[in-house]
Structure formats: C-alpha cells, structure tokens
Subunit: 462 residues, 2 copies
C-alpha cells in the first residue's frame, strides 16, 4: 500500500507555539515526536518509508524533511510552490506514484497534524477500508461525533456495505441546531479528511469531476526533482478534495474510525487530550500556580506564575505570550491576524529557527548588530557563503569548529574565537561527533538573513 501525508497547514490557531514557518504538524507538544512524525510512523505499518509521500509548501520543505529524515531517510517530500488546498496536492502526489511506475495499488491519504493514539484500532479501520477499496470504492474514515460540533463538516451514511456504509452525502459545517440533529440521528459522522482507494479509481474520479486539475498532471515532471513546477501548479484550481471529488463521486464509502481522534485545532482541544492534575490543570514547563483551576499553562522558557484564575489558557514562548479564555480559544486566530496585520515577526518565525545543519536562536539585536547562538549538529556544515553588509565574530561555547575562511582552514576550540571579515568567503563546519555551539555577533550597516551569497551547499541551497 502507498501513503500520502498532507502537510500543508498554517500556524495560526495554535499561535504562539505554531508559526507560519513552523505549523502545527511540526510541533512536539513536549513529547518526543511531532504530529508529523507520529503520522509517518503510523503509516509504516502499511507502507515502506519510500512509499510514503509527504506533500507540503516548499517553505516548510526543510523542516519537514529534517523531521522525517530522523525516522527514515528514504521518505519522499514533494514541495508545492504555493498553497492550493487538498485536491491539487493529492492529485500531484498520485501523479508522483504513477511517474514512478507504481502498479495500481491502494493509497491511504491522511492529514499530517491530527492526533491518533490507539494504533491497533486505527490499523483495524485501515484493514476494513482495504476491503472496500479493493472493490473500487473511495473510502472515507468517519469519526463518530462525540458532541454536536459546529466546526466540522459531516458525512451522511445510508445502508451498510462490506464492514462500512454507503455514503449518501457530504454536508458543510452545520449551525448548532442542525449539528444537534446530526448528532442525535446516528447516521452522521465527522469528516476527518482521511481517505483511501485505488490510485486508478482516484485518477478516474479526478478526470471526471476535476479535469482542470487532472489535465495538468502530465505536465508535472518528477524525474529529477520533487519540487512541483510553479507554472503548472498555478494553473490548477485551488479546491478541497471534498468539493472537487468526494461530494460528486458515487463511489464513496465510509468506515467508522475505531480509534481515538483529535484534530488539535485549538488550544482547548490540546487541553482536552492532555492528562489533568488534581485541579484540572495541564501544566508544562516552569510554572507556579496558586488557586488555578481547569486551565492550560504552558511555559517554554521563562517562569509563568498564575494566581486565582480559572478556565484560561496561557502560553509562553521565547518572543510572545498568549492568554485567552479556555472556551474561546478560537479567538487566538484573531490575535494572530491582528499581529500579522502589524507585520509582527512573531506570526512568522520562532526565535529558534531550524536548518538542515542544526538551528540558531536570535538572542539580541540593536543598531547595527545582532547576536545569535548557533548549534551545528555533528558532521554537518553550513554553506560556503559571504555577506556584503556585515562582518561576523564567532566564539565557540561547546565543541570544536572547523572554519573555512578565504581558502584557509582554522580549528577553533571551546573558548576561542575567530573574526569573519566583510565579504570574506567562509563556512562554519562541525566534522566531529559532538554538537558545536557558538555565539555569533553580526556587525554591519544592514543585518538581514537575505544578505547572503552561497557558493557551495551540501543541502542544495546554492
């Protein structure tokens, strides 16, 4: 079986933990693995790592690749030049399989950012789906509603079918009265965005119902790169798989998802899935409370001290603090939009930015200078580069640095330092087995990430 992970997604609803450049699927929520990594591992029960295709905006490509490589380097990540909703993304990933001469296998398509803990029951659901998919059905996984939610689309089922149900129709997000009716009827399921079916069946339905997408697929060329061509993708309609195919196709069946499921679409849903202490609180990090109840308090770095509050969410990150009412945690999106309108960097990036070679954290900046801590992972190196507007000054805090500077090699030990003059060709490298940590002081008339000329890069960024 083949698998497709849809890893588009933006960073607004779980701000400030998620960011434009670090969306929900990359978050680890203080566990060892991100939602993306958990999703990938879940699929390895059915697909080889090299048969799992993750599709994401090219902006997220480095971080997605970094996380998946830590599990298995044979993973495939396709980069979208722009966001185009789920239908073009799925179609492009299917086309990738076809161009790689995959026989008419079944493909399982899942979002990258949902939480499913009960793997056994998930696997059983997939097996139930396989039976239907082999009969030529497109199978959607329906989630039995736990309450009358107005924020999800619903799927109405009719008669039973091979361990599942025939699908009568897809319906939009209902108002609360309609949601209550759906909830009571028992025939309605939440649409969790998980689908499976034969590649050939999906393609037939695309051809029939979404030809503006289908007709462009052959122009995509995955023979030398997994990056989607901008011009081709731009021509495709931006539309969800639900609208484009599911609502129109008469081949759709539903199996009931037997496992737990949570889309973690708000801070409140994070609170809901976490273990609570005796006061009903979910506490993470350096937090002190007094008389606090039924709240989520998350500290990433500094001390958060809370007294006398109930039903609140407080999230502290290195450069932004968010506080809101528990049952209005959708309001976070509005805060995010206000900040974005003010061009606040806190909507885009974290202070700590991950790169293929490691990560850096901006510590401090002022008139004409910026300081960073930089961590280079073992056996990694930064590109050979130069800057037209700044000199750099490096002090090694941990490990040993190999520095290439204008053709010479220097070894810089812990506690030592080196100056990188303006316009000099340089590369920071860590050929050793332990992490290299340095402090970088940038000085210049223009300090920006875009003041960089790359000459050589082992991660293909030249």
């Amino acid at each position: 079986m083949k698998s497709i992970i849809l890893a588009g997604g933006s960073g607004s609803r779980l701000w400030p933990l998620s960011r434009d450049m670090f969306p929900k699927q990359l978050l680890k929520f203080d566990e060892d693995e991100s939602l993306l990594q958990k999703t990938f591992k879940r699929l390895t029960a059915f697909s080889e790592p090299s048969e799992i295709v993750t599709i994401t905006n090219v902006l997220h490509y480095p971080n997605i690749k970094l996380q998946l490589n830590s599990i298995d380097k044979s993973n495939i990540v396709i980069g979208e030049p722009m966001g185009k909703n789920t239908a073009p993304a799925i179609a492009a990933a299917l086309e990738y399989f076809l161009q790689n001469k995959v026989s008419d296998d079944i493909v399982l398509i899942v979002p990258s950012d949902h939480l499913i803990n009960d793997i056994d029951k998930f696997n059983k659901t997939v097996e139930a789906g396989i039976a239907l998919a082999q009969q030529g059905y497109i199978v959607t996984f329906g989630i039995k509603p736990a309450y009358p939610e107005t924020g999800y689309g619903y799927i109405k089922t009719s008669e039973p079918l091979l361990g599942g149900y025939k699908v009568e129709k897809f319906v939009e997000k209902p108002d609360i009265d309609t949601a209550k009716k759906y909830f009571e009827s028992g025939d309605y399921y939440w649409n969790g965005g998980i689908f499976m079916g034969k590649i050939s069946v999906f393609m037939e339905e695309f051809k029939k119902y979404a030809n503006s997408i289908y007709s462009n697929l052959s122009k995509l060329d995955f023979s030398s790169s997994t990056q989607i061509n901008y011009g081709v993708y731009e021509c495709m309609e931006s539309i969800s798989i639900d609208y484009a195919v599911m609502e129109k196709s008469d081949k759709v069946a539903l199996v009931k998802l037997q496992s737990d499921w949570n889309d973690l679409g708000s801070w409140q849903s994070i609170y809901n899935v976490k273990d609570k202490d005796e006061n009903g609180n979910v506490i993470t990090g350096k937090v002190v409370t007094d008389n606090v109840k039924n709240s989520l308090i998350y500290s990433q770095k500094e001390i958060v001290a809370v007294s006398g509050l109930e039903n609140v969410i407080i999230v502290e990150t290195e450069d932004a603090i968010m506080a809101c009412k528990m049952d209005e945690s959708q309001g976070v999106k509005k805060l995010y939009e206000k900040l974005k309108a003010n061009a606040s960097d806190t909507t885009k990036l974290h202070k700590t930015v991950f790169r293929p070679w490691g990560y850096y954290t901006c510590m401090n900046s002022g008139e004409g200078y910026l300081t960073k801590t930089i961590c280079v992972l073992p056996h990694q190196k930064l590109s050979v580069q130069s800057h037209n507007h700044r000199s750099e000054h490096w002090v090694v805090l941990e490990g040993t640095a190999l520095v290439l500077l204008d053709g010479e090699k220097y070894t810089v030990n812990t506690g030592d330092s080196i100056d990188i003059p303006l316009k000099s060709k340089h590369s920071l490298q860590n050929p050793y087995d332990t992490e290299l940590k340095i402090i970088e002081v940038q000085k210049g008339d223009y300090i920006s990430e875009d003041d960089i000329i790359r000459y050589e890069d082992c991660y293909g960024r030249v």
Copy 2:
C-alpha cells in the same frame, strides 16, 4: 527643615516588576522618575538635598544612590546592615542629624514608595503640620478613608487642634465590619506612615518608650561612613515606629492629608491610579488585545496577546510572567513566596542588573558559559578585577572600550574584540562621551558573580 526617607521595603507585592534586589521604590512604572525619585523631589520644597537622609538596607544602597545622584549628588544615604523595621531606622537617621550638629529642627519622615501627585496640596499639609510640630507635637498625616479598607491601620482623632486634631489612639488593621464602622464614623483616618516633629521631641519619646533603641544610638558613628555598624544595629529591637512610639506617646497630633495618596501596595492599586482606555484597560508595552476589559496588561519586552479575558492582571518581564485576578492581586505575594521557596532567582534579581557604572543583562547561559550584554555609561569604569574560574571574551557593539589588561592599555573599537584570560587583572572602561555596549562571553568551570577579586574600584567596592 530636615527630611528622612524610609527606603527599606521588599519586592514581593509587585513581583515580577519588583524584586528583592529591586524593590517598589526603585520602579519607574514607565514614567521618567521612580517613586523614590519623586519622593526625594517632593521633599526638596522644604529641605536642601544635603538635608534629606534616605535610609535603606545596604543591599539596595548602590541602586538608591544611583537614582538619587541623578537628581542631586549631595544626598545622604544611610545603609542598614539588616532590616529592623521603621523605629530603629528613624532613630538612626535622627542620630545622624544630631552627630552632624543639626540644631533642633523639624524633621519630616516619609515612606519612599507611596504615590502623591498633587504637590501643592501636599505642601499645604506639611505647612499645617509645621504649626503643630513647633508646639512640640509629633504630627502624623491621616488619609481620609475612601472606602472601608481592611489592609491599613487606622488612627482615631478627638478634638480639633491648631488646624489638625488630637489623636485618641492608633488601631490595628480592622476586620471588614469594623472597617465599615470606622469609615462611617468620620473620626478615623488611614495611617500613611508620614510623620513630622522636632528632632528633640522624637528623641525624648524614643528615650521614654523605646529605650532599647535609644540607648544604643550613641554607639553609632557616622563621622566617617554612612553605613550602620552591624553589632550595634543587631542589638536594637525590630519594631515599627507605630508600636514603639506613636501608640504610647501623648504628644501625637494628626493633620488631614489634603493631597491624593496611594501606597501602590498591589497590582490592583497600580491599575486604580492609571488612566484607562475605552475598555477600562491599562496597557503598557507591546500588547495586542481582543475583547479584553478592565484589565492591566504590562509588557516589558516581548509581545503579550490577550483575548476574551476580563478583570485580569498580566505582567511580562524578561524572565517571569505573572497572571492573576484583578481583585485578588494580593495573591501575588503567595506566588512570590512559592518561588522564593524554590530558590527562584526571579524573586531576587532582574535579568538586567544596575551597577554604579551602568548595567548588564544576562542573555544566555549553558554548561560552562554565560553571555551578557554590558552597558558602561560615559566616563565610567568597572573595577580592576580578576577571575579564578573563568576567561572572558568581549566584542564591542557600540562605542569604544578602553581595556586595561595585565598592565597594558588597549583601545577596542566597535566591531572589534579582545580576550581576557583566566586570572588576568583587567578593567573595562569608557572614558568617552557616548555609551559603550559590549557582549561578554564568560567561559569556565564555575560561572558566578562571586568569582571576582577586586583590586581598585572608584565606587568603593574593594
């Protein structure tokens, strides 16, 4: 007239803005002047700067001196070796005047951390007090209660006396029912801790009612230093002026304080004295709100985004965030005590620490290293010092540094750097007219402020 400013005070109730090492009187609340500086300036209407004696714990001496010197360098600050409540502090300050051959002048004694805006009306109250003081009364300034507060002591007046009243008795903090009776009676005033009287009268009453303090005063020696002798001060009873003298003396009169007054004893009282926006909010710093009402949101450094909350206080500082309910802001003290019990540095120090020569901010620390930004004010210098356990590495960000290193002088310009080896004798100096900013990277097996040997120091810290 002479003046005494009582500047003991701890940092618990306005944490995290106040700290043990940076108590309320030093805070500026986003105005140009701290409460201490405002208090000092208020007194200059009656006393020469050299006749205003500020008494504080020796730990706060450098910061108090720094703030007062910015107004007038002839100020006098007496350092207490330990906190001993108000009676010994006042007695010691009176003794200072006597040892400096002050004739039997009137002395005005005020707390350093109360807010009074209407200077004219304050001055009129002082003038009313002078008339009574000249008649041999100890005058206390009574604050007309605005509501039945249970957190203050009260003073009961009897018949009118020379523009004021005779005092019948001092009473302790009442319960709410008693507070309501006091409030309705009209004879009761809040005790604001402001007193005036002739030095000789105060001394007579100390002798009569607090002889354990009085009898030790002659052992104090202010001829060469304003630091109080540890052994002498240790023998004095730790007791408030109210208990020691005011409640016992039959020479106490009261004048009604005509100006505004606020002791800023809680975050709620800060909220109360500040201008509100159209939603009843007091907003300071980088704050974004949506549907927030009647709240105080204070950001010192990072973005604070708040949605859907009412009647809350949220205070962000560089290393601690505090959130509490508006009308339970006394609960902050409990958070502070919990943190102190955990030996959290956030109760003691700010990340930015003020020194006579400027200030430094700890940016980042890890295994065996610490980074700081250091600002040396124009024409200031750090002591000549050495460290047994760390080397230092300085990069100049702004201005020019004059560095003394093992007997040699080096000029280090913006963008340049210098290494300070382990155990080398060094001094960082700024003989120029603009601020000097550097980044310091400390490396060593033991990184602590107490790893310092001082050889020369222009601020008397050797």
